[in-house]
């Protein structure tokens, strides 16, 4: 791989890691788009590198969110039972399916993520701790509003089922599943968006790891491309966590929604053979 490509991976990794950590997505989707559309890597190779990116983003971002108590560890562990199960099944399926199918699935995931970002309400209805399950109660200090936010997730069964689907999608598409998990936690389970992003960010690493070993043993990782990917994502994720606690996520989410729609259209065109490079 030439020096220009390596530097471009590093720089885009910083951008993707920052947005990924801020929104709890891990940055995997953005990295896949970059690898396929800009560097023209085969889909399976792009997916393998993006899984490493998600693990790096999740580990770096997760370490900061845990320290800030934004991550709900117990909720994450309960939902992980479903996401990892789905991820392993999905990753096996993805290796059997052709690249074309993976690109179409990616396109669908990207459109779904964009739709959910636009659908996010500006104000949040938080369920107080006494109204739901005590097993996974959560609370954190919001640095923007300067107050403690106490909440309890609701609709746990629906959340678990959705987590299973999110895990399967992440296994097939090679992403951490954050694009599905953040909207589910926030819109369905009524977890505040910052806690949802922090918890999702924590979870996506495990989901990605479940799929990553399958891609690693399959020989899809380019080690020289992996270095700038991991370093860039790591730096960006740290910056993203510092920004997230100080800003409202709604504006950034909608901006990312626009970018994802554009990338999704391009990806469908490429899968359909209307674009090639």
């Amino acid at each position: 791989m030439d020096p220009f490509s390596l530097i471009s991976i590093l720089l885009f990794g910083i951008f993707a890691g920052c947005l990924g950590a801020m929104l709890g997505l891990g940055g995997g989707v953005l990295m896949i788009i970059f690898f396929i559309l800009v560097l023209n890597l085969p889909a399976h190779q792009a997916v393998a590198l993006s899984l490493l990116a998600v693990i790096a983003s999740s580990s770096m971002g997760g370490s900061v969110y845990l320290k800030d108590k934004i991550t709900n560890v117990k909720l994450a562990m309960v939902l992980e039972t479903c996401t990892v199960t789905g991820a392993v099944a999905g990753a096996i399926l993805a290796l059997i399916l052709p690249s074309l199918f993976t690109e179409i699935v990616l396109g669908i995931v990207i459109f779904f993520a964009a739709f959910m970002m636009f659908k996010s309400p500006r104000s949040e209805k938080i369920v107080p701790p006494e109204a739901g399950s005590r097993l996974v109660l959560g609370g954190f200090y919001d640095a923007l509003t300067k107050c403690d936010v106490l909440y309890t997730p609701v609709r746990m069964r629906l959340g678990l089922f959705a987590s299973l689907l999110a895990g399967s999608i992440s296994g097939i598409a090679g992403i951490g599943g954050g694009v599905v998990m953040v909207p589910i936690m926030n819109l369905v389970m009524k977890v505040p968006i910052k806690a949802a992003a922090g918890t999702s960010n924590f979870m996506v690493g495990v989901t990605a790891a479940a799929s990553a070993f399958i891609y690693l043993t399959g020989g899809f990782v380019d080690p020289y491309a992996a270095v700038p990917t991991v370093l860039g994502i790591m730096l960006g994720a740290y910056a993203g966590t510092r920004i997230m606690v100080r800003v409202e996520s709604i504006t950034i989410k909608r901006l990312l929604g626009v970018v994802l729609i554009l990338f999704g259209i391009i990806l469908f065109f490429k899968a359909g053979g209307l674009l090639s490079w």
């Binding site: 490493l52 790096a56 999740s58 990892v84 097993l135 990782v221």
Partner: protein
Amino acid sequence: MVSVETILSWVLRAGVLSSAALMTVGFLSEIPLIWAGIVVLALTPLLRVVIAGLTFLSKGEWIFFVIALYVISVLVIGIFL
């Protein structure tokens, strides 16, 4: 007593930073070090689940210990499939 969040924060940070160090040195010298960094990175979430399980066990929170065991089992199955 140190909280589970603090312990897991240390684990994740140690994993990702040591992986980054190995990969950077490997990029400048030998390719096996890059692979070592990649393996350390991929194992970090697994280690995080193990440590979480042990921490919950030490606190007597059996439900979360069992959950951690299940997640580890699925991850191990994923590795060997």
